[in-house]
Amino acid sequence: MATPWTAEREASGEELTFAAAAERHLDDVYAYLLYLTGDRELAGDLTGETFERALRRWRRFEPGRGSARTWLCQLARSSALDHFRSERRRRRREEAAGGLEREKAHVVFGEGLSAELEAALRRLSAAEREVIALRVVLDLEVEPAARLLGISKTACTTRLSRALGKLERLVKGDDGD
């Protein structure tokens, strides 16, 4: 059975360099971060940060253990979580000081998405959007997705099922709206 690395190598017909991995998976990482953060500008910044990290750690990447896409998404998730933590601390400081909350920019999760779907996606939590991004948008297998999320395969499947169910209800307007 071919490993993801082999498949990538066969597909590209060349050795996987950092440049090749970056070009091939830039959209995947960006899409994942967009769904995770719900903010285009932030997703862009975090994507850049992710690839900077990836460049520094490229020697540690072992193709036999998993695909470059999964590895990059792991780095992206780590960057996003660091950002969320620092944002939470900043918000708490601002709330304590009586500061105003920032307005969230209008997000476009994907060109061609219906307005109802866009609105429903905005109403999901980052955790729910994350699993949809990994399993549906990026079409990752359940095992690498579960490993990336740090949960079991069963939990990953359950989480996806709930997220899609909630999304469907929001789209249909059955969620009390």
Binding site: R9, Y30, R40, G64, S114, S125, E130, G150, I151
Partner: protein, 371 residues
Amino acid sequence: MTDLVNELRFARPRAPEALRERVAELAAQAPAPARASRPAFVWPRIPVRRYVLVGAPAVLALAFGYAAVHGIVSSGSPADERAAVPLLRSPTVAESGRRLSPLAQGNTARALDKTPVWAAPAPAGALSSAKAGSARAAPLPPSNRLQNYSASMRIRLGGVDGLSDATVRAMRIARNLGGYIVSVQYGSGRREGEAYVTVRVPVQRVQRALMRYSGLGTIVAQNVRIQDLQEGVDRLERRMDRIRNQMARIDAQLKNPNLDATEREILEAKREGLVEILRGLGRQRGATFRRAQFATFSLNLTTGAQKDEAAPPPGRIERMLDDAGSVLVQEVAWTLFILTVAAPFVLLLGLAWWGARAARRASDRRLLEET
């Protein structure tokens, strides 16, 4: 829901051009590939369960293998080398014990050793030669030093019927040699019987005693112990000389006519004390001499059959199994020791690491759910 999924997939967002350029600039900074070719082998991610299922039998196989190899290697020496070292054969010694050959004089030096000397058991069926040989093989007490000589013999008889006669003969031998009986214990059943006879025989008659007792039956085991008493007696006599010298000095002082009554009284009391001490030491010396005059023989007369004979030396396979078994026991003991000492720490560390990891993941999940 399928429509939803398809819509999400087809409308996948693309990175903006500015970001694409930025990442391309980064990629341009990347050094030449460190790995020119795919590594020959990458350690696969193996679940812990599989490690345990494969590792545990491997460790057991290793432990058994090492024990077996150790057993084979250490059992390589022939059985003969492991037999008891045969005793020095003493030459024929006159009854008075005065004429000693150089070999017997060597025995004298060996006799100073207090450790017991074992004789090899007599092979079954070689009665007469065993009796004579065993008697000659046992070391004899030298005549120029005081020694405490004791011997124990386990003698197998033909049957229960002969046990009573043999016991009586053993007692008679002691008396005929000028010795005396210390104790007798006798017990017999329908098929088996045992008798324990302890006698004391003049040390000059040890050789004859050994010969005669050997004639009672087949000697199955024999143990001789020689303890030197001469040193103790010499120490006693030196002390006694010192006390006599002190007494002589006191006597000389007492002869002085100018001594006053008080001083005379003190000196006389002192002399009395020394006399008492001298008497006590004399008694000790006498007891030691008496002890050295007689040798003690402890005889175990038995009618037991095969079980009474000494077991044949183990064969190579038995030795191999024995050695391998002892190595396995050591391995288990060490493993248990290491596990017992290290296990709590390993467990605590593992729990701490797992707890920290679980807490971190829970925190991340809450963070994402709140966002």
